[in-house]
């Protein structure tokens, strides 16, 4: 995975991003973008979880350790969570996780949280596109052996 990583600023660099999407809203949103055949960058490997509240911060750490250049967490809008408050929990964990990532030398822009509903195929495309461009500008994340 690190073999294709190139130096910062090299245009050949294609960011590898892991996306954790909740089943009920954001995954459906991604599906909607797909059905509408809206183009968006193919850099995000989507992992569907039943609820954004299921995303253990260890998953995010593990993703970075395994070679992700960025991690994006997409949840239902406040009030829309299928399990009432999983997305609030996810938001709390995310805000605290950001404070841990910094001393590890991982820029906070490499980990993004956003709300995408089942109907927001366009927002999904926009968020993913922004994320890919942000991480591309940051360059690869190189984990020492």
């Amino acid at each position: 995975m690190t073999a294709d990583k190139t130096v910062r600023g090299d245009t050949a660099f294609e960011p590898k991003i892991i996306g954790f999407l909740c089943n009920w809203c954001s995954y459906a949103g991604a599906d909607k973008a797909g059905t509408a055949q809206s183009p968006y960058p193919p850099n995000v490997n989507v992992i569907r979880v039943m609820c954004s509240g299921r995303i253990d911060p260890q998953f995010v750490m593990k993703a970075f350790e395994q070679g992700a250049d960025g991690v994006i967490i997409l949840a239902c809008h406040p009030g829309d969570c299928h399990y009432k408050e999983g997305n609030y929990r996810a938001a709390q964990r995310y805000r605290l996780l950001l404070q841990l990532l910094e001393p590890f030398g991982i820029e906070r822009e490499r980990c993004r949280f956003d709300f995408v509903s089942a109907g927001e195929g366009d927002k999904f495309v926009q968020v993913i596109t922004e994320m890919v461009e942000t991480v591309r500008a940051l360059g690869p994340l190189i984990i020492p052996a």
Partner: protein, 329 residues
């Protein structure tokens, strides 16, 4: 005498507290002496490295290895003792997870050298001398063990049979392990944890636990907590919830939050991430409901804002053993 199995103890990047914990077996140390030939321990005995080198491989029954791997010397001794020991035990948090010396992994080696040898207010170093593995002098080459880029755990440099967690391991738990070995009790499969439980400190903590809803977090000095209720519920960051049981919940017993010295519970890879998960579940979200999305983040940040250094707090004992192991750039 010569027939007794050999027991050794070594310190690498360590503070000496683990040796004190062994001595704190008090009179039971005599039982240890009766059962073992305690033959190597630089803190307590005068045996030398060359005496260890002279032994046949596997001559030592058990080595308790405390301390993290910071220098080439630490690694060399770890590999030597691995070769000479039938059973190598990572003893204490430094050896098992990296502990306090491992917090250095949040900084680069150059930053550490600069802070300690150049910028430190109590240092007078006009020649700006920084230790190096080799220094040429008129008489020849002076050598020092190399100082590695990162602190590693014992298991990251050699094969480890068992782990005894704790900073330091509690004497009653050391005794549990030693007496089981003396009695010939079966040990768990290789790679297992001895002298501790599998769950969390909360399991053995007597404080009253109710539904956790925290509106404000306090630093330890800011609050004299009530004696009955769970400290976390009172707003102190007690890491018992993300720490392996085994100590008997010593700290909460005396009104101090657990700082996590027994490392992560069984199956948890990253104590810091686990604390994030736990705290994320117990902050009171009542009044964030119905707010605008940006406002939600602002509220959450305000609750977490009263604590200055989460990473240092959550990884106090386990940074080299964590998923990312330290600063990556």
């Amino acid at each position: 005498m010569a027939d007794k199995p050999k027991l050794s103890m070594y310190w690498a990047a360590a503070c000496g507290g683990c040796e004190i914990a062994l001595v704190n077996l008090n009179e039971k140390i005599l039982d240890v002496d009766a059962a073992f030939d305690f033959m190597f321990c630089p803190c307590l005995l005068d045996t030398k490295k060359k005496d260890i080198e002279a032994l046949p491989d596997g001559a030592i029954a058990i080595t308790l290895f405390n301390g993290a791997i910071r220098t080439a010397e630490n690694e060399e001794m770890a590999c030597l003792l691995r070769k000479k020991s039938q059973t190598l035990i990572a003893f204490g948090s430094c050896s098992a997870e990296g502990c306090i010396p491992g917090l250095a992994n949040f900084h680069t080696r150059d930053d550490l050298m600069k802070a300690v040898y150049l910028d430190n207010a109590t240092i007078d170093n006009p020649g700006n001398i920084i230790p190096r593995p080799e220094t040429e002098v008129a008489e020849g080459t002076l050598q020092l063990p190399a100082f590695y880029d990162r602190v590693r755990t014992l298991a990251q440099v050699t094969d480890v049979d068992f782990f005894i967690p704790g900073c330091p391991p509690e004497p009653h738990q050391i005794w549990n392990v030693v007496s089981a070995v003396i009695a010939g009790a079966p040990l768990p499969p290789k790679g297992g944890v001895l002298g501790a439980g599998r769950s969390a400190v909360c399991e053995e903590c007597d404080r009253k636990k109710e539904d956790k809803k925290i509106a404000k977090l306090f630093r330890t000095y800011e609050l004299v907590p009530g004696k009955e209720a769970c400290l976390l519920e009172q707003g102190l960051i007690c890491m018992g919830i993300a720490t392996r049981d085994g100590c008997g919940a010593l700290c909460p017993k005396v009104n101090m939050p657990c700082t996590g010295c027994y490392g992560p519970p069984e199956g948890v890879l990253d104590q810091g991430a686990k604390m994030v998960a736990a705290l994320g579940s117990i902050i009171d979200i009542g009044d964030t409901k119905g707010l605008a999305e940006e406002e939600i983040f602002r509220r959450i940040d305000a609750v977490f804002g009263s604590i200055p250094d989460y990473a240092g707090m959550f990884y106090k004992y386990s940074l080299p053993g964590s998923i990312l192991k330290g600063r990556i750039s």
